[in-house]
Amino acid sequence: MGGGEKPVGASVNPWSIFSTVMAWLILLFLMLPSFIVVPMSFGGKFEMMFPPTTFDTILYERFFSTGNWIATTITSFKVAIGATALALLLGVPASYGIVRGTYPGKKIVTLFLLSPILVPVIVLALGMYLYLASFKATGTDLGLIIAHGVLTTPFVIVTCMAGLRHIDANLETAATIMGASVMQSFFKVTLPLLKPAMFAGGLFAFLMSFDEVVVAFFITEASTMTLPVKMYSSIKWEISPILAAISSLLTLLSLVICLVGAAAQKKT
């Protein structure tokens, strides 16, 4: 209800109060870890404490000055960018084929393309590990890019399918009748109009890949670890307070990406 006005005769429903309170409680529960980790990251360098007793940015300084952590972060960015590119390259044409195409077996093709969402991540990770191992591609950035590409493509497909359904198919028909080839009509009409959906899908794919632990854990080695994997491994040996700083940075990254995504959606 845009104006926020109550319809005539509407009484306050006890159920609606209950569901509102529940929703806020659940949101609070989900946000709580961030509320604890962020203040902790500004604490001292010797132990994780909540509430922190001092204010210090030493943990951040340490993160940015440790070559090891930086290299891992760079790997994570490389992999996430590669996986996003792969997911867009596969997902955009796939969604076009699903939404605009008419051919027998379309439902089955759709289900197959979206199946990585349905398969448990651990199963996917094991399968990817065995598959990539047969090419000797485990422990390489490319191997992880491929694995993450598989994982994130369905999400690009889903957002682009929604985007395409909003683009009037008559526009493509009009372009065709005016003399445009299939390629011209795709690149000059469909693709520019699909940009917001591609942007949203791409951001989502990037975040998924950047955060992903399970598949990355199977496929990377010590030299090619991504940030989340390195965090996980380091927590096994010692609970280093630097993790709080990295977690806060990751939260910030997600937040920035979501805000950028929301702003882009608003603009279109």
Partner: protein, 362 residues
């Protein structure tokens, strides 16, 4: 030369026949309208010509060449859609320039041509705007300009005025007609609006259930319908069941006897339909001379509707038969009081005999 010709072209989907085998040809510079209710096959016919679907049987000729297997982008046609189908991410200039860019026209020429056609549709000032900043009528004029600019052999229009309100629609009809006459463009227009078809067309092709019911110029379609369907679809009409008597006149269900226009098929004893246009039926008031009208009936008024420029009188005859008479509105011309006795009269030439089933052949 025929710009478009369908030769025994038909389309079926499995067991469903969307279009029976039809022949149609549209001459250069002609304005032809495909008219019919939804599901009558008019959009199928348009898509066959545009190349969006392939015919199950028959051939499609465009500008004299067999184009049955030519893909839509090589047919050299133009099309205007009901929802305009302007590219929302391009300016009006870029929209109109699109077909020229696809054809790799030099930039200088594009500028000149786009400016020229935007002038033609009276919209030279909107070149730098986006489609969503224009009104529906303006968008449709841009869509038309986008067709005119590359000089296609024919412009196909799929209910182009369907999304506009009545006033704007009438303006646009005149505008379209003007552009058609000025530029001598060949146009194939699809509509379910009979008034639109009557106003604009050189020739109307009336479709019914996937077949061509009747085609001809608007006046012929209106004054000489060859079937009950055609009479009923174009304009409004009184249609009664009747029988032809030995003297050639007809007795309708109410028991009233009337003279009808002679038709070869209407032999004595034939059961048929009799059609009279409401505007040809006159309400006889005191002092009126009714000798000009040989057909006269008496009834009781049911109701009168005033529809702005015209009045419609509904009059009850015997045997549940209703007759509608239409007059021009004039100040002082009074409504009939329900239940009042009414005398109606019209000329034999205005009573058309029509076959009860099918149509008059020939």
């Amino acid at each position: 030369m025929a710009m478009v010709r369908l030769q025994r072209a038909g389309k079926r989907y499995g067991d469903v026949v969307a279009l029976h085998e039809v022949d149609l040809s549209v001459e250069e510079g002609e304005f032809v309208t495909l008219l019919g209710p939804s599901g009558s096959g008019k959009t199928t016919m348009l898509n066959l010509i545009a190349g969006m679907i392939a015919p199950t049987v028959g051939q499609v000729f465009i500008a004299g060449k067999d184009a049955t297997n030519t893909p839509p982008n090589k047919r050299g046609l133009g099309m205007v859609f009901q929802n305009y189908a302007l590219m929302p991410h391009m300016t009006i200039f870029e929209n109109v320039a699109f077909p020229l860019r696809v054809r790799k026209t030099p930039e200088e020429e594009i500028k000149k041509k786009v400016a020229h056609v935007l002038n033609l549709v009276h919209l030279p000032q909107v070149a730098n705007r986006k489609p969503r900043e224009l009104s529906g009528g303006q968008q449709q004029r841009v869509a038309l300009a986008r067709c005119i600019v590359y000089n296609p052999s024919i412009i196909l229009m799929d209910e182009p005025l369907g999304a506009l309100d009545k006033k704007l629609r009438e303006q646009m009809q005149l505008e379209l007609k003007r552009i058609h006459t000025d530029l001598k463009i060949t146009m194939l227009y699809v509509t379910h609006d009979q008034e639109e078809a009557l106003t604009m067309s050189d020739r109307i092709v009336l479709l019914n259930d996937g077949r061509i019911e009747q085609m001809g110029p608007p006046d012929e379609m209106y004054f000489k319908p060859r079937s009950v369907f055609a009479a009923d679809f174009l304009g409004s009409s009184n249609i009664w069941d009747g029988t032809i008597e030995s003297d050639g006149s007809a007795t309708i269900k109410s028991g009233d006897k009337m003279k009808v226009k002679p038709e070869a098929f209407a032999k004595p004893g034939t059961k048929l339909k009799v059609m009279v246009r409401p505007e040809n039926i006159n309400v006889i008031r005191q002092g009126d001379d009714e000798s000009r009208f040989e057909n006269r009936v008496n009834g009781k008024a049911i109701d009168t509707l005033i529809l702005g420029g015209v009045i419609k009188h509904y009059v009850q005859l015997a045997n549940d038969t209703v007759i509608i008479a239409q007059e021009l509105t004039r100040s002082g011309r009074r409504s009939l009081t329900p239940g009042q006795d009414v005398r109606l009269a019209w000329r034999p030439d205005d009573s058309l005999p029509l076959p009860a089933v099918g149509k008059i052949e020939g």
